[in-house]
């Protein structure tokens, strides 16, 4: 596993510099004047003005993968891809330019480089579903910078639950949608099954993020074909930095890990299933 980039101690304010709708999602960009450059797969705990007021929710900060990060004059620009599914995500997705975004991070461990995940890796395969494409967008750019051969497979449920493709700055991307509005009609794992045919599986480094059901299908398929895989998982999180022990994920050999400390990126063989009680929003 790749080393984490450590976070400045404490929550800090960033200025929202841009907000744009993309399909059914929103990309919120903020300027982080004090933080370091995060690595792909790391996340931030976000909150904003009004947290804990109107009706008392949202109260706890919410976890978001960094979808892109770029050094600018006055700090690092952080992009978050947000699917408004509840009170917290709705406040964050509504933040306008000039608003304050409170962040703690970068947190968690990032994706490993492909040759660390699989010493025989000849190419990386990124598998994303829904808003889970966010961390893969940043990983995609990192791999492109290193000229590492990469295939990107993305799946969406329907038009309302899709967006953020522009974050991939378009290399060719394999698309699937359950309603058939884009690409292959069906699941993104159908595309992965084809990509992992025969000996290709042993020279692949697979990275996946998406809804629990998709991740579990990816985990099981990779296990069956012998393809090393890293999954960016989700659980409810109260703190994001190891304080609450709330983000427990069962380990394959018994016991639990704290996902915010040992994850969110986890090797497929460390878990028995990617379906974690309480995670996901479908």
């Amino acid at each position: 596993m790749s080393d984490r980039v450590q976070a400045p101690l404490g929550a800090r304010d960033c200025e929202v510099t841009d907000r744009r709708a993309t399909g059914g999602y929103v990309i919120v960009s903020a300027l982080d004047a004090e933080g370091p450059d995060p690595k792909p797969g790391q996340f931030y705990m976000l909150s904003a003005d009004g947290w804990g007021t109107h009706g008392g929710r949202p109260f706890l900060p919410r976890a978001f993968s960094v979808a892109d990060a770029e050094r600018a004059d006055r700090g690092v620009r952080l992009d978050f891809l947000i699917d408004a599914v509840g009170p917290g995500t709705s406040v964050l997705a509504g933040l306008e330019r000039g608003a304050r975004l409170r962040v703690t991070g970068p947190l968690g461990v990032p994706f490993s480089p492909p040759r660390e995940l699989n010493p025989d890796a000849a190419g990386a395969i990124l598998v994303g579903g829904g808003v889970g494409i966010a961390p893969l967008a940043m990983l995609r750019r990192e791999l492109a910078r290193r000229a590492f051969p990469t295939r990107t497979l993305l799946g969406f449920r329907d038009r309302e639950h899709s967006g953020g493709l522009e974050l991939f700055r378009c290399q060719e991307v394999g698309l699937a949608s359950e309603d058939g509005h884009a690409g292959h009609q069906g699941y993104v794992t159908d595309l992965l099954a084809v990509a992992l045919k025969g000996p290709d599986a042993h020279t692949a480094a697979v990275y996946a993020c998406g809804p629990p059901g998709m991740l579990e299908a990816v985990r099981a398929l990779c296990a069956e074909r012998g393809a090393p895989v890293e999954l960016a998982l989700e659980t409810p999180m109260a703190c994001g930095y190891g304080a609450c022990f709330g983000c427990a994920v069962p380990l394959a050999d018994g016991g639990y890990m704290r996902l915010c400390v040992e994850g969110p990126v986890v090797r497929g063989d460390r878990i028995a299933t990617a379906i974690v009680e309480g995670a996901g929003h479908r």
Binding site: P8, L9, A11, F59, A243, C244, A248, P250, V261, G278
Partner: protein
């Protein structure tokens, strides 16, 4: 703004609530900045037990209006694991260490207190009594007689301050606090979380993996203030007050109700430096700075 908890002298009155800040994980995430700018006057460990515990099945968290319910289930490495792995790292913190312990029998409590208190890295112990005594089946902290007997059994084992963490899940915490005082405790801390349940709106079944859990955060502050006031009227021991503290004004409310010191819990989750902010705000509010020596 120094305070005393028994023989323990603290630079200021803001601690962390047990189980709401993991100094070892935080150092991994934030680096040595944590040591240079430690947010609390003392560090209270997460509760440890004699044997290792994995904790409760997920989900372990539920957000409520201005609060949260947790059913974490005291995951910890057990006494041996704590002494071998955690204690050396906690000894590097720039503040005194208070170790929280829990057991389901007096004998097990005694083994924990004996083994932990003989370590020089440990400044004080907190007894988490929100647990049943397996012999009597009674929640120790809900029964004055159980609490008193436990304190009397443990008192001779150590000269270090013993803090009894009271449970709020009782009709009146004052008799239990008095029993702790009579049994020889040096201080009491309160409140622990309030027993609570949430239902999954999709299924109507309990949401938490353990079925129910404990409520904390801003929502519980009025309950905590009331309990601190009742306990203050009953005992002369130092009181560490907690429950929903998010600001210096909240902390001052606890001091006004008779607390000697305060602890920040759930607010740490929104900002790892919440404790530092609470202390700064409290200092600005309570002038002239005075020593709150109640013992």
């Amino acid at each position: 703004m120094s305070v005393r908890i028994g023989s323990l002298e603290l630079e200021h009155p803001v601690l962390n609530g047990s189980g709401t800040f993991d100094a070892i994980a935080a150092r991994q995430v934030f680096g040595d900045a944590l040591l240079e700018r430690f947010p609390f006057a003392a560090f209270v460990s997460k509760t440890i037990t004699l044997e290792p515990r994995a904790g409760n099945p997920p989900p372990r968290l539920w957000e409520t209006p201005s609060g949260m319910i947790n059913s974490i289930g005291l995951p910890n490495k057990g006494l041996e694991g704590f002494l071998a792995h955690d204690l050396p790292q906690l000894a590097e913190l720039p503040v005194p260490l208070i170790v929280s312990v829990m057991a389901t029998s007096r004998d097990d409590f005694a083994r924990l207190v004996g083994a932990v208190s003989e370590r020089e890295e440990v400044a004080a112990l907190e007894l988490n009594v929100s647990c049943p005594n397996v012999k009597s089946g009674l929640i120790v902290g809900a029964e004055p007689a159980e609490t008193r007997a436990l304190c009397e059994a443990l008192r001779p084992l150590t000269d270090k301050p013993l803090i009894v963490k009271l449970t709020p899940n009782v009709a009146d915490p004052a008799p239990v606090a008095r029993a702790a005082e009579e049994g020889g405790a040096d201080a009491v801390s309160l409140i622990n979380t309030l027993r609570a349940t949430a239902l999954d709106p999709r299924t109507g079944e309990p949401w938490l993996g353990a079925g129910s859990g404990g409520l904390s955060g801003a929502a519980v502050k009025p309950v905590a203030l009331d309990q601190v006031r009742r306990v203050r009227a009953a005992v002369s021991l130092p009181i560490i007050g907690m429950g929903g503290i998010e600001s210096g004004a909240d902390a001052l409310d606890f001091l006004r109700c008779g607390a000697t010191a305060v602890a920040v819990g759930t607010a740490n989750f929104r900002d790892p430096l919440a404790g530092e902010r609470v202390r700064a705000e409290l200092e600005a509010l309570s002038e002239p700075a005075r020593s709150l020596d109640l013992k």
